[in-house]
């Protein structure tokens, strides 16, 4: 697979992954902007509003017809959080031209459509249509309020909020209900014009077309893209230490039958010069695989929970542990989660454990090369992190990670915050009496 990244317009870069293997082609267009409390909701709203209609396809019906004609192509608003960067734009999935009747030229037409969605929205008097803004704003609010419906994700969101209250990282990718409610069509149009001119743009394409063909289609599509002073100061603030000497504890009560325990750690020293392969192997050993210390001990041996796993946020330099437990098991489960990290710190894992973890990481990374969606996600993340490597590069590096590298990572990690979501108990229901 050929990979090429080049700037095609001022602060607009195209990464083209040329391959003949897939029947599915992908294209994503991403505006990068800083994640802040004040702008997150406005940013999150923009792709949805743009998606409601363009100059030549003024409503969703017209857009739906155009996409169905392109063999059921999909273009969806994309709002993503990459540490303290908010990425907004569109992700398109469509059938690769190599598998369609000659002359279909779906990829080029998708590029044109995406360009239109971005820079030629349906407006009146130069402003977004109030009905479109009102409608999408309501949906955004419902989405934010819906965060509490899936309790595992909710507990991780709350952990982030409690752990990083003075860091932009705590801001949810959709912002907040308060911020969203304050958005009107005039203010939003103004904000849209500002970020359209100032945001660096990363475009990804995976499919059978050449870089030159895709570049040509995109340059034509983005001919009228306004470009002003680019916001080049984007990045994520990595805090090395926990906020206080010891972990901070937070508890919340909701009507749930299973408790959710989420623990937040700062990765610390290893983030000075992050070794992406070694970090992944460490995570696989600690809690990121079915042969990890968390899975084998907290779940299997002690039956303390139904799930217990860890994952890393390499943008922010954090490790988050998530587990589902019975309310009474809180102390035991927390104690074990911390004890297992201590075990990794002291090298209490076998050569076999290390080999298995390396194999698992190496395989997972290699398999990214077989999925257009995973490739897009990988390259967006690594481009933003400033890392120039392919999944295969990391896959090979993972195979030579040492036990020493793993324990060194673990030794620099500090527990910063603990969040526990528990159910309503007898005492709480009789509180008024």
């Amino acid at each position: 697979m050929d990979v090429l990244r080049k700037e095609i317009l001022p602060f607009v870069a195209l990464t083209c992954l040329k391959t003949d293997r897939f029947k599915t082609a992908c294209m994503s267009l991403n505006l990068l902007t800083g994640l802040t409390r004040e702008t997150a909701s406005q940013n999150a709203l923009i792709p949805g509003v743009l998606r409601r209609g363009t100059v030549s396809h003024p409503d969703m019906d017209s857009l739906a017809r155009a996409l169905d004609e392109l063999y059921g192509a999909k273009i969806e608003p994309a709002v993503r959080k990459l540490g303290e960067i908010q990425s907004i734009g569109f992700c398109a999935e469509f059938t690769d031209d190599a598998f369609l009747p000659p002359g279909s030229r779906v990829a080029e037409r998708i590029a044109a459509l995406m360009g239109e969605l971005l820079i030629s929205p349906n407006t009146r008097g130069g402003l977004f249509l109030p009905a479109y803004v009102d409608g999408e704003r309501q949906k955004l609010i419902e989405r934010i309020q819906g965060r509490m419906n899936e309790k595992r994700g909710y507990s991780l969101m709350r952990l982030r909020e409690f752990m990083c209250p003075f860091e932009d990282y705590a801001v949810d990718v959709f912002g907040s209900v308060d911020q969203a409610e304050a958005i009107g069509y005039q203010k939003l149009t103004k904000h849209y014009k500002a970020i359209l001119a100032a945001s660096p743009i990363e475009i990804f394409y995976i499919g059978s077309l050449s870089f030159e063909t895709v570049e040509g289609a995109l340059k034509a599509a983005l001919l009228n893209l306004p470009r002003g002073e680019a916001d080049t100061e984007l990045g994520t603030d990595i805090r090395m230490n926990s906020v206080e000497e010891g972990p901070r504890y937070f508890t919340e009560v909701l009507d749930v039958t299973q408790g959710k325990l989420a623990v937040g750690f700062r990765l610390g020293k290893c983030m000075e010069n992050p070794d992406l392969a070694a970090l992944r192997v460490f995570n696989a050993i600690y809690g990121g695989s079915v042969t990890s210390k968390l899975f084998m001990n907290v779940r299997e041996k002690l039956s303390l929970c139904y799930f217990a796993s860890s994952f890393l946020d390499l943008f922010k330099g954090l490790m988050l542990v998530s587990s589902g437990i019975e309310f009474e098991k809180y102390d035991q489960a927390l104690s074990e989660i911390l004890a297992q990290l201590d075990a990794v710190r002291t090298g209490d894992f076998t050569a076999e454990d290390l080999t298995y973890a390396k194999k698992y990481v190496s395989s997972s990374l290699a398999s990214i090369e077989d999925s257009p969606a995973e490739l897009e996600s990988f390259y967006l993340a690594h481009t933003v992190m400033g890392e120039d490597c392919s999944p295969m590069d990391l896959s090979l590096l993972a195979e030579s990670v040492t036990a020493g590298e793993v324990t060194e990572i673990a030794r620099g990690i500090e527990c910063d915050a603990v969040y526990f979501l528990k159910g309503i108990t007898e005492e709480e229901t009789h509180d008024d009496q």
């Binding site: 996409l67 059921g72 419906n149």
Partner: protein, 425 residues
């Protein structure tokens, strides 16, 4: 092995039925690093009452799922999930109402991993102690599921559609029902349903099909036994047990699911055709390009989370659609209106034409997803058809057939609505 080439979609399928009755399907994908293997049995949560040649046996709710968890234990004390993971594979398993499947994806050591897969699934090993421990773990899983509004809205709809029968119970069972499971229950169900003639092995990747066959012949029992028979109870036809169900939970906005039963077409091409008709009918009636959806989207009554699907299980089939809405009854009323309109006027030709083209594109893209393809091949086999036949069958469907389908299946009085509403605080 039989080789079927599908040049239009650039796929090749190798197939063979072993003397022991197992069907092996290999979709070769040249140039891919990873391979995917799925070993499935035509056995799920709905298969509670069965006979393996002898007397009829009744099993408690949750056995198929319990068995799925426990099969990973090996007699030598090892765990197949760990064995596969340690060898660089990504293993997993799932149990539905009609199927239980074990699968892995790996980019190296495929043959070794395949051997592990075939071995552990065909080797039953259960003890009193391990059953007890699993009751604890699954009990936790059940609690987690019970907290999920999606699960509650679905189970309540099933109870609206089915007055009796196994589809009224959750695939995982309840804490009480799984308490009744003993090692004997598991051995009996394994013997009956994990019988090669009741199973299928699907492999997707750049593999040697003959080598896959050879491994399967080596590892699996040679004996051929007939597949078990199941009894799903009397069919209540299309009448509803009840038309509404409601529950209150900690959710931010009402979650809803509506649906109706479908009399399943006979296995084979008729069933594949019915599934495609249902999909096209649903896309034309309420898909993201339909007037119904676009109108309700603009009114703020539906969002992009609105989805539909059709499931076949327990000798029956049902169509389901739902998502989140601030006013599910309004959505339901709009559906009834739209059905009445389409009953009268038929499906719009141009809309149908676009949906057919779009579905073709989608089905083509789905071929890239090894997991999806493996599952489609397996489920297709159990339903009597080859998943790749979706393309010629789709091609043969016209607008009139879709309109006819809607008029005969989506009758207003057959629909029930289940809602989960936010708890008053």
């Amino acid at each position: 092995m039989t080789t079927n080439n599908y040049p239009a979609i650039r796929e090749t399928l190798y197939s063979e039925t072993l003397p022991n009755g197992l069907t092996v399907l290999v979709a070769r994908k040249p140039g891919y690093r990873k391979s995917f293997a799925l070993f499935a049995t035509d056995y799920g949560g709905a298969d509670r009452r069965y006979t393996d040649g002898g007397a009829w046996t009744d099993s408690p709710a949750g056995v198929a799922h319990f068995l799925e968890h426990k099969l990973f234990d090996m007699p030598d004390g090892g765990n197949a999930l760990a064995t596969l993971s340690n060898n660089g594979a990504s293993p997993n398993a799932y149990t539905g109402s009609a199927i239980t499947a074990y699968h892995f994806e790996s980019d190296r050591g495929f043959d070794e991993n395949l051997r592990t897969l075939l071995n552990f699934v065909s080797t039953p090993y259960f003890t009193e102690e391990s059953v007890k421990k699993e009751q604890g773990i699954i009990g936790q899983e059940i609690r987690m599921i019970e907290d999920s509004p999606g699960f509650v809205v679905f189970m309540n709809l099933m109870r609206c559609l089915y007055a009796e029968g196994p589809l009224r119970d959750s695939v995982a069972g309840t804490v009480d029902s799984i308490a009744q499971i003993t090692p004997e229950t598991l051995y009996s169900c394994h013997r009956a349903f994990y019988n090669p003639s009741n199973m299928v092995l699907c492999v997707v990747g750049d593999v040697n099909p003959e080598a896959v066959l050879k491994t399967a012949l080596e590892i699996l029992p040679a004996e051929h036994r007939d597949a078990p028979r199941r009894d799903y109870g009397p069919s209540a036809g299309e009448t509803l047990a009840q038309s509404r169900a409601s529950a209150a939970m900690e959710v931010s906005a009402p979650q809803f699911l509506f649906g109706c039963k479908i009399a399943p077409a006979p296995a084979g091409e008729p069933r594949l055709r019915q599934q495609l008709l249902a999909k096209l009918a649903a896309n034309c009636l309420m898909g993201p390009s339909s007037p119904f959806y676009l109108d309700l989207y603009e009114k703020g009554l539906l969002s992009a989370d609105f989805e539909h699907e059709t499931e076949y299980a327990g000798g029956s089939a049902h169509f389901l659609a739902g998502g989140e809405s601030r006013d599910p009854e309004a959505v339901f009323e709009a559906l009834m209106k739209e059905l009445a309109r389409v009953f009268e006027k038929g499906v719009d030709e141009a809309l149908f034409s676009r949906q057919k083209k779009a579905l073709f594109g989608e089905k083509l893209r789905e071929l890239d997803d090894f997991d999806d393809l493996g599952r489609e091949l397996a489920q297709g086999k159990f339903d009597g058809f080859c998943a790749f036949d979706v393309f010629p069958v789709l091609e043969s469907i016209d607008c009139a057939q879709v309109s006819d389908f809607i008029r005969s299946v989506f009758l207003p009085e057959r629909f029930a609505l289940s809602v989960v509403t936010p708890k008053a605080r």
